[in-house]
Every structure is written in C-alpha cells, then in structure tokens.
Amino acid sequence: MTRIPMDPDAIRALAGILTETGLTEIEIAEKDSRIRVVRAPGVPPPSAEAPTRAAPHPPATLAPPPSELDALASHPGAVLSPMVGVVYLSPEPGAPPFVTVGQTVSAGQTVLLIEAMKTFNHIKAPKAGTVTRILVANSSPVEYGEPLMLIEA
C-alpha cells in the first residue's frame, strides 16, 4: 500500500486552533492533499469539566450509563418509555411475555405494560418489525424517555 504522508505538527496546530476558537471541524485542501480535523461536540477540550469533581457519589440514574442510554434512545427502532413507572413484560405474573427477542410484531401491538399510579398502561409497537432487543427487566423502574426495546424492520 502507499504510505499516506502526514504532518503531525500541522494536525496538532489545527487541534490547538479548534480548542482556541471553539470550532468543531477544520478542513484544508490544497491540490490533491487534504487535512481535516474534527472534535465531536460531546468531547470538550480540557477546560470544560463539570463542576461535580468533588462530589462523593456521582448522581445515580435509574437507567443504563448515559452514553449507552443516549445511543439507544436515538436508535431508529427504539421504543421509548412515555412515562415514569414500573415495567411488566407479561400481562400477569407467571403468564408468557407479550413479546420475545426475534419475534415479529405488527404496529399497535402491545409489547409491554408500564404501571404508574396503580394503572397499567399498554405500550404498543410504534411500527411493524422484529424485536431485536429488550432493554428492561420485568418489574424494573423506568424513567421518562428511557429506551425499552428495539424493533427493527
């Protein structure tokens, strides 16, 4: 393979300018050569740490670690919890679950229940597809917007 020539100093310099200017991407092209440096908005330069360093216990959350949560929540096939409550995967204790991984579901089909204020709310599949992942355990608490399962076409 041909070795691609690169200029680490130029890259460092551009990275420095990114930080200095708060840019997230710089691209420079000259004839056939091209340099492009990007810093994802998520990844801040060192001066942006959150003021909770000294806190003894980081704020707990009922959901999986933010990074994964965010990733799953933005998944096109994600079914998100419309309320705070407790999840039930089957219509009643001992009964088989509404759905299992690999099962195909039709739009509007109930895939689980969320109990809030002593009422059981039917959570329905937003669209037809296959259940590729169930992200919550039976009778576990969920918060608003938390991904419950993935249904992919």
């Binding site: 801040p44 942006a48 959150a50 003021p51 909770t52 806190a55 216990h57 704020p59 707990a60 959350t61 009922l62 309320m83 705070v84 409550g85 407790v86 809030a116 204020m117 608490p141 918060e143 608003y144 917007g145 938390e146």
Partner: protein, 452 residues
C-alpha cells in the same frame, strides 16, 4: 427523621433543598425534565429521575410522574419548593394519600389561603389587620368625616354596589370629604340606583412588607421578623431586605404577636408568610403564602436560622424547640434577584453560560444553580442566581452588595446584575425611601437618578 426526600422542583431552590438534606444526612432524589438532564440539582442529587419533556405541565407539574418517581426510588417525603406544585392542595393530599409526607402545611390550610377572599375573612376573624375602613355603609357626611378622621386621610369613598371605579372618590383632607361624599353618592345613585357608600383607607404609596413564621405540629408558632419586598416590577419582586427600613422593633413585635396568635388559633403548621401593605404606620393584610419563599435567605441571615432545615424537622414531627424570645435579629440583609433578562428591555436571555464566577468573602452568600458551560433553558422562570449580603448595618450591607455585584461574573447571557448595580447607587434607595411604585418609576426613567 426522613431517609430519602424527593425534591419536586428545579433550579436554585432545588439546590437549596438538596443542600439542607445533605447537611441533615438525608438522601435526595432529583426529578427533572429532559431539558434539565444536565442541571446542577440533578448532578448533586443522590438519585435522579427524568419525569417528562420540557413543558412544565408535562414534567414539574406532572403529579403522576412525580409520585411514581417517589415510589420507584423509595422516597418517604416530598419537598415542593416554591412555584409549580408548592401551593396545590390536591397534590399535597395525593402525597399524603400515597403514604408519603408533604413537607409543608396541611391541604386544608393551603386551600384556605389559596382562596384570597376566604383568607382575608379568616384573618379578619383572627384579628389580623386588613385595610382600615367603615364597617358597612356610612349614612351622611358627618359620619363619613368621623370615619375618615379615625382611619386617617387619604380615604376612598366607594359605592357599596359599585365596581369599575364608578362611584369612587378620593378625599385627601377634611375639606375634601364633603364634596367627595356628595359626588360619590350621586354617581352611585346614577350608576347603580343605590346611593349607599362606604369608606376605606386609600393606600397611595404603600410598602410591601411580609412576615415569616414557622409553626410546629404542636401549636408553637414563632415569627422571624419582616422582609421589605417593595422593590417590584410587574408584581415581580426584584430585591428584598430584612429588616424593613421603614419598621422599628416595636411595630415588628406588635405585628408578630398578632400574627403568631392568629396562626396558633388556626392550627397552622410548617413555614408560611403573611404579606401586608404598609403605609402611615398601618398594616393591611393582602395574602398568605403557604410555602417557602424565594426571598427566605434574608431572614436566614438576620436570624441565623436554616428555614428549609426547620421545614423538614417540622414535617418529621419535631418540636420547634425555641420560643419567640430566643429569636435575635442581627444586622441587615439584602437579596438581589439576578435573572436571565436584558437589564434594559427585560427580554429573557436563555442560552449558554460561557463563564461563571460567584463573588465570595465575608457576608456574601450566593444561591445559584448556574455553572460554566450550563445552558439556561427557555422553558422556565428566568431567575438564575440570588446574591444575598449580610452586614451589621444597612449601609454596610449596601456597600457589600455593591462590591459583590462588581465581582459577580456571569458571561454568555445578559443578566440583571447591571440593574442592581444602578439601584445600589441610587440615593433614595440608599435612604430606604421607597414604595411599591419606586422600581417601576426607576426603570421607566431608564435607571436614571430620577428613579425616586
């Protein structure tokens, strides 16, 4: 004592309650909308639950979501803070119905004080002063003059059947009463076919003065002196003081005795504030707030008490443990409410705070949920920081406020810091010579020296 408290609020007051819980060794649950996932009250809480989308009605006012959050986290009490559900009697009832403790008064008292007419009637029965006037209609000029002389000029002569300003006349002195009485009566007859009129004290330049109280579940009631909240714009308080430049210890004590006596008879519990209009040495009850107030810190500084800690202790069934004579008033405190608004146009200025540096040093307290990098969301109240200063005298407190405001750096969004800086330079403010109309005029005059 409680083991875990859910804080049903956001912003600086959620943080205020979080701090009191942490100091008491009580675990905390923060609830938040999707817009507040990065908020300080969420970062510092032991646990947090997202309860809904940004609109308050779907999150911070979402009773079902909040009660579910309390259940799944195993909280045993809920502190509502101020605003949102703090004065919602129905919410307080549901909290209790779910076997949790509502940190505040009983639903009955919240409901009673929520009805402003009922509240005034109740307070009148209990001997709390309302605006002075004739009890019922006055038959003739002579009796009108007697009433006017008793309650003091200026007086308002109003049609008993009246409304909308018709049949309403002001008399500023004895020589005006006869004319005013006749005109009011004539207008009343013409307008309502009923010439019955009554007299009321006309408050043309009142101050807003309120009294902070705490009551335990066993009938002990103590007051913590007054706050002067006359500096308001569009009925929004901007700056508060404890004590009032217009009140002396004797007047404060008299009002305190009346109020604590009344609330004792009422069987009121937890924290509360009675708001009054004050003019010519007379108090007129307006309303009672059955919750913690934004401006509670000035009272804390002067009395050396932690009002939120006391709210929690009382809700947990503790006795106050002190009497009125144990309450001392040390020095003077001023609170500046700093909002994310343009100090000229008062347009809200949500957005990213690129740098935040709070003032420090002796006698300076900052209650704020801001931090560098935080984005002030557009969905909620614009209050972003409270600067509270405390000093032995009012003059020193103003000097301290001035230097603290000069040190305060909130970069990236516009705030009202500059407005507070201008107020501190204003001679009539420095003299304590202001009414509830002062700030509107000051702002109208562009914060110029004609503000008074």
């Amino acid at each position: 004592m409680f083991e875990k408290i859910l804080i049903a609020n956001r912003g600086e007051i959620a943080l205020r309650i979080q701090r009191a819980c942490r100091e008491l060794g009580i675990a905390t649950v923060a609830v938040h909308s999707t817009a507040d996932a990065e908020a300080m009250h969420v970062r510092l809480a032991d646990e947090s639950v997202c309860i809904g989308p940004p609109p308050a009605k779907d999150s911070y006012l979402n009773v079902a979501a909040i009660l579910s959050a309390a259940r799944i986290t195993g909280a045993d009490a809920i502190h509502p803070g101020y605003g949102f559900l703090a004065e919602n009697a129905g919410f307080a009832e549901m909290v209790e119905a779910h076997g949790l403790t509502f940190i505040g008064p009983s639903p009955e008292h919240i409901r009673m004080m929520g009805d402003k007419i009922a509240a005034k009637a109740a307070m009148a029965r209990l001997g709390v002063p309302l605006v002075a006037g004739s009890d019922g209609a006055v038959p003739d000029v002579a009796s009108a003059r007697l009433v006017a002389q008793r309650i003091g000029y200026p007086v308002l002569i109003k049609a008993a059947a009246g409304g909308g300003g018709r049949g309403m006349k002001v008399a500023r002195a004895d020589e005006e009463i006869e004319e005013a009485f006749r005109v009011a009566r004539a207008e009343a007859r013409a307008a309502f076919g009923n010439d019955a009129v009554y007299l009321e004290k006309y408050l043309d330049r009142p101050r807003h003065i309120e009294l902070q109280i705490l009551a335990d579940a066993y009938g002990d009631v103590v007051h913590f002196g007054e706050r002067d909240c006359s500096l308001q714009r569009r009925h929004q308080k901007l700056l508060e003081e404890a004590g009032s430049p217009a009140l002396d210890a004797a007047r404060r004590d008299r009002l305190g005795e009346t109020v604590t006596g009344a609330l004792g008879q009422l069987g009121y519990r937890n924290a509360g504030t009675l708001e009054f209009l004050y003019q010519d040495g007379q108090f007129a009850f307006i309303e009672m707030n059955t919750r913690l107030q934004v401006e509670h810190p000035v009272t804390e500084m002067v009395c050396g008490i932690d009002l939120v800690r006391e709210q929690i202790r009382i809700a947990a069934g503790n006795v106050l443990g002190y009497r009125q004579r144990d309450i001392r008033f040390n020095g003077h405190a001023i609170e500046c409410r700093i909002t994310a608004e343009d100090p000229e146009t008062f347009m809200p200025t949500p957005g990213r705070v690129s740098a935040f540096h709070a003032p420090g040093g002796l006698g300076v307290r900052v209650d704020s949920a801001l931090y560098a990098g935080y984005v002030v969301p557009p969905h909620y109240d614009s209050l972003v920081a409270k600067l509270i200063v405390h000093a032995p005298t009012r003059l020193e407190a103003i000097g301290r406020a001035r230097r603290a405001l000069d040190e305060f750096a909130i970069v990236g969004i516009k705030t009202t810091i500059a407005l507070h800086q201008r107020i501190m330079e204003e001679p009539s403010f420095q003299a304590g010579d202001y009414t509830i109309h002062w700030l509107e005029r000051f702002v109208a005059a562009g914060g110029a020296s004609s503000g008074a």
